[in-house]
Symmetry: C2
Subunit: 406 residues, 2 copies
């Protein structure tokens, strides 16, 4: 119960930090969008104007050459646009809705790439798409997460050997831990977020370069366009201005489609993982920024802590310890803290496979601490708490207790 | 050290379960794709053929009416396609790359919607997009995760009141926990995954209906098309066959663009959260399926457990208890287990804000248990373990210990 009472004051700090991080990120993203819009507008606007001029010349030349009124031409082009929506191009394309084309389509749906080179036009297709995508996208997100977790496990296999040898040689660890090391299997070992980001980034670059080396000759794109297509596809943005494997016939068609599927699958998994790892680093940067600007926040939190809560002194005092009990080299300790949290976050974020077990661990913690497993189970059968009460109580007590050491 | 040695045998079971879940999901997704391809092909193929026939008639009629050779028409249409890629349509559209258009574009990039109604055509634009999207998409993923965590907190505020009252009235909890309840603040309370899924689904439907009610009159789409657009956009699929706010002029243009931005933002956040919650439920279904087909797996694990590992008996025996110590109504206990894990998973997955604190809690756990915080910190400064060693060691010992009770 001690911890249960202690956390009252820090809870407000905790909530404030979360909201602050959220708002700070929102503001930064908005600024990022504004800057990006300015840059893209500056880069692309001239070429757009040139394209308009070029097209107007083409249109008038055609209308003069074949004395077709612009009105007729526009109505013709409008019909062509509706035909384009149905997957028709001036050059013959592969059929949109034969089985392979439909398979490509559903692949772009569940992966949320959504090129748009194929879109349902019938009412039944649109309705079915909504329900089909709802389940498919969720399953794919889970697949990506499990893939990420598998990748981390794989990296752990490789890096554990290096680390362990370096540790043993440097003799930094007391024999007790070394035994623990030797005894602990792979899941007991997780690489850091920075190593994972580096490795994922390198593999993403390698995959993109290999895929581009395939697309450039087969699709006849420039190599840079192929790289652009790879990023747009692997990041599931999927503009659809460039779409692979759309022509009516290729040499080695089956092989090319297989390689295309393979590259897109691995690339999407890799970039998705990379995005998640980068987002962790961004979160650390946000925490660091919040820590920098948190003096004002601290005052408010302490004020809150004293607002008529029991034991409000404790968190405040611990807060003061946490804030001002630091060594003078605040910068070093700060970065150190970031790396610490970075390591731990990476492990929390990148091991999505242990959730159930972790939950059970929480339950055991709570039961051993409270000693009423029966009660929990009994109540869970009726109101669906399922042991979350005591477990989460303890969890959050501890979390709030330590949240000011962030 | 006890737990450190105990987990040897169960670790293999653990890894097997993870790999099995991953493979099972991959197989199920593949089947899902095949079925979806068959259904879409059956639904859309006829309309595609009709569209081809219609377009061919239009093409020939036009070529006859204005005696333009099909070759000239096709080259003309090819030029029109390149003009379309630059954002030109028969009907006048808003400028693509003025500031507002570029802002819309970068919004579709960082959210990975990627309509493709606007795409960079210059080399500089394509290169910049790659680096811009890399950071932007990661930041947006973090934003979505923090939004999800905020939503859960909000739901916790609401649902805690209901639950607490119902508990008190039903008197299921011993007074100790009731006090803990009253004492514990919001983060000590998390709604279950099913409630969150229900609420997110309802809010997604409400947002989509409201947005469609706006799009239908303003864009002149059918209401169903508007709903289809909402799903395709909010799920970040973003085909681009329907794109809002593309005409040159609307009545109340500024207001409409603002509402469009607002709806897309809230809708994407909502559907993203919904996908993640559904993916949790899918994971539970996978675990349940694995539990059903795990007898064979158990044999293998026990075999592994006996393969020359120290204390390999222990996990095996605990495994046997876990498997055959169940009440005869295996079905009931199984579903119960699922609900348990469901509740706990939901809390683990849906509180992404406590990762750092949780990590620190792990560190404390390990330090209190091992009693060598100094050593950890010392080593962390040199090799970046940062306390993950003992902490994760203990974490995974406990996880592996309980992994057979899944």
């Amino acid at each position: 119960m001690m911890s249960g009472q202690r956390l009252q004051g820090c809870r407000s700090l905790h909530v404030n930090e979360d909201s602050g991080r959220f708002l700070l990120l929102a503001v930064l993203i908005l600024l990022y969008l504004l800057c990006g819009a300015a840059v893209f507008s500056a880069i692309e606007r001239p070429s757009e104007l040139r394209a308009h001029g070029r097209w107007n010349r083409t249109l008038h030349n055609f209308s003069d050459a074949f004395n077709v009124s612009l009105k007729d031409l526009n109505s013709f082009l409008r019909e062509y646009e509706s035909a384009v929506a149905a997957g028709i191009r001036a050059d013959a394309l592969r059929p949109r809705w034969d089985f392979t084309g439909a398979f490509y389509f559903v692949g772009t749906v569940v992966s949320t790439i959504g090129f748009g080179m194929t879109t349902p036009v019938t009412v039944a297709g649109k309705v079915f798409l909504i329900f089909y995508g709802l389940l498919g996208c969720a399953a794919t997100i889970l697949f990506f997460n499990l893939f990420l977790e598998r990748i981390i496990t794989l990296l752990a296999v490789v890096m554990k050997a290096f680390r362990l040898r370096r540790l043993r040689t440097s003799g930094l660890l007391p024999p007790g831990i070394c035994q623990d090391f030797a005894a602990s299997s792979l899941p007991g070992w997780k690489p850091s977020v920075y190593h994972v980001m580096l490795i994922l980034g390198l593999s993403a670059i390698i995959i993109s370069c290999c895929a581009s080396a395939m697309y450039t000759p087969v699709e006849g794109w420039a190599y840079l366009d192929s790289l652009y297509f790879c990023f747009v596809t692997f990041s599931t943005i999927g503009f659809g201005d460039l779409v692979s494997s759309q022509n009516e016939a290729y040499s080695y068609q089956g092989l090319y489609r297989l390689a295309n599927f393979f590259f897109i699958l691995t690339g999407v998994c890799c970039i998705y993982s990379l995005f998640n790892v980068i987002s962790i680093v961004i979160k650390q940067v946000l925490n660091w920024m919040l820590g920098k600007m948190s003096c004002l926040c601290c005052q408010r939190c302490k004020a809150n802590a004293f607002l008529g809560r029991r034991n409000a002194i404790r968190p405040g005092s611990r807060l003061r310890q946490g804030r001002f009990g630091r060594p003078p080299d605040a910068e070093g300790s700060d970065t150190e803290g970031r790396r610490l949290s970075g390591e731990m976050i990476s492990m929390r974020d990148l091991t999505s496979s242990n959730k159930i077990s972790l939950a059970i661990m929480q339950k055991q913690l709570s039961e051993t601490a409270n000693g009423y497993p029966r009660t929990i189970c009994g109540s869970s059968r009726h109101n669906g708490f399922s042991g979350g009460v005591g477990a989460l109580g303890i969890m959050n007590n501890r979390l709030a207790e330590t949240s000011d050491t962030r």
